[in-house]
Symmetry: C2
């Protein structure tokens, strides 16, 4: 899922992402709650109508941003108090309020509020956060069932232009008063096998979920720890439900995740490193500002179907970044999104053909042979 943090995949139009093979989009409840406001989005017809994204959509709960971006004031059993990173205003998230926010936004899949702790946290802290997340899941479920059963709450007292005609491309589906939504639980427990197992047991014991997320990874722990944790979880997760690894990732992480039974991913990394001039290639990442591209008329990645690779050459892409031109940012972001979506498409094809083991080994071998060093360098850029 390409990430539209504020309701737009940074630098790209929905048409471009759809043409690149995008099928599901993620948006961020925290950002949209603050601006333009979940009630505003709802009055405008919900996220589908607002962003014009034609496919399925997921919102995270905003919990990750509350714990990482906002200024925390208090975390209690009731919920989280925080100050907005935009204007310092004071807000409260509870499991119940987050369900209402995500209901107003109107994505197809919405996430529970969970408690986040740092990657590699000790057992006691990991256990406490995991157990609280299970209690919050139950509160989310009760509130979700209530508002789903009762239907959408009455329209809020926002002013909508009374003579507003439907948009030229309006889809009647966008105006569904009570969208069908699915609530996904989040498995927590850090990098501790017993806690992950207890979290999965707790999650599976409280509802018949449409899908299950694995959270609390890719938050600072070693990659080997992430892969091992996925291996603990895999046999315990129902085979018939989509499994979503949150906040991951780089090309090799996607393939390592699929190897361990993951179906869904999301990450801002393709657009973020694209804005820094870094491109995914089958041989690792490449910086388009490099001087060897100055007179290089070859495509950025041979065989890539994106406009940056089919329409332009390396010399021009380098020129766009050297000159600070916005088109460069657009093209690299689109290339990177296309590249990740092509990996997932190729992985699906290999799974269907029964060749995933050899395909993934070959893919990772090439990517890591030349790319490991740059990859780590770029991780640092992406995190900056």
């Amino acid at each position: 899922m390409p990430v539209a943090t504020q309701g737009t995949i940074k630098g790209l139009s929905v048409d471009e992402v759809e043409a690149a093979g995008g099928r599901m989009m993620l948006s961020n409840a925290y950002h949209l709650y603050l601006r333009p406001g979940d009630m505003g989005v709802r009055a405008l017809g919900g996220l589908h109508a607002f962003t014009r994204w034609p496919g399925p959509m997921l919102t995270d709960s905003g919990g990750f941003q509350v714990f990482s971006l906002a200024k925390l004031r208090a975390v209690t059993e009731d919920g989280v108090e925080f100050r907005s990173h935009l204007d310092g205003s004071l807000h409260q998230y509870t499991p119940e309020s987050v369900m209402r926010v995500e209901r107003n936004l109107g994505a197809d899949v919405i996430m529970q509020l969970d408690e986040l702790i740092a990657g590699g946290a000790e057992h006691d802290a990991s256990r406490a956060a995991m157990e609280r997340s299970l209690r919050w899941l139950e509160r989310c479920r009760v509130e979700f069932d209530r508002i789903t059963r009762d239907g959408r709450e009455p329209a809020p007292p926002y002013t909508v232009s009374s003579d507003a005609p439907p948009l030229a491309t309006a889809d009647p589906e966008f105006d569904l008063p009570a969208p069908e939504q699915a609530l996904f639980p989040i498995v927590q427990g850090g990098t501790h096998a017993d806690l992950r197992r207890a979290s999965i047991a707790g999650v599976l014991g409280t509802g018949d979920w449409h899908g299950i997320a694995v959270g609390g990874l890719s938050v600072g722990e070693a990659k080997a720890d992430m892969y091992r944790t996925l291996e603990w979880c895999e046999p315990l997760l129902p085979r018939t439900k989509p499994r979503y690894l949150m906040g991951v990732g780089f090309p090799d992480d996607l393939i390592e995740g699929v190897r361990r039974g993951i179906d869904l991913f999301d990450c801002v990394v393709p657009t973020r490193i694209g804005r820094h001039g870094t491109a995914f290639t089958p041989d690792g990442t490449a910086q388009v500002r490099q001087s060897s591209y100055r007179m290089d008329r070859r495509p950025l990645v041979d065989g890539c179907a994106c406009p940056a690779c089919t329409r332009y050459d390396r010399a021009y892409l380098r020129h766009l970044f050297a000159s600070g031109e916005m088109l460069g940012l657009r093209l690299l972001a689109l290339h990177n999104v296309t590249f990740l979506l092509a990996i997932m498409s190729d992985a699906r094809a290999a799974l269907h053909a029964g060749t995933f083991t050899s395909w993934s080994a070959e893919w990772l071998g090439r990517y890591r042979a030349k790319g490991a060093r740059q990859h780590d360098e770029e991780l640092a850029v992406a995190d900056s």
Copy 2:
């Protein structure tokens, strides 16, 4: 002509500009001479191959930027010495060197080097610059004839990847070793009728040009002075040659220019004000950040064919600017370019139908009725 100052129309892809109705593009010799260098562009196959613009292309001489952007060191009869605005390096432009730069860049239409002075300059200063521009035109013509007759100079000693395959979309036309080029002279003379007449007589006496430009307008003089100057020039300019008014302009300026016999225009204003969140509308300019757009689900401009108007609503465009999202800049730039190209298309249709007088009066009446105040405010933004 949408303007691709550094070889890209800011924020837009060539496909978008073509779909918006763009037929001819302008690039800037000064910027491309400094970065990536005219010899580099030539080694990469020329501006058409470099930028992938499929239609005709014009380069200005760079003179305007030398006089306005670079740090001038000396202006003599021989030429201009200046320091780069990028790194302070020292450079010289002569009429002859500018011809070689523009030959290397390889646009279809190239402009002479002329001497620029401030709008509203006194008669003596205007006369001196006009007469020098005529002498420089003759030197441009002699050098242009020489390099055109002799064919392109030998390939420069740049390294091009020897195994570079042609791009997927490569057009054999892009690889013409010696493109057909046309040199356009520039009429000068400030806002003085006798000098404009003398300039036109001088220009017409020295060559059989493919087209003629009117320069030195829209540089700070009153709009009424610009229109009056065009009226002096119109009867003296050959009816069978395209007439190009340089650096203009806003919607009403285009229509006022066509009224006075102008065929070609260029201006950065649609993309520049778009980046500031200002949109052209039939009722003047509009700022998309305005609070009245917050819950407005109507298209930005009813009936406009651009993606900003057919795909999104005002509330979403406002949200993109309020959130600092790049997609907003793209969409507004594309809207404004589309808007100006539609005006020119409508003007051509009205001319063919014999209804230009009534069409233009109606268009300007509506645009100025509500728009005059905003228009002037936005001019200030565009110049900032």
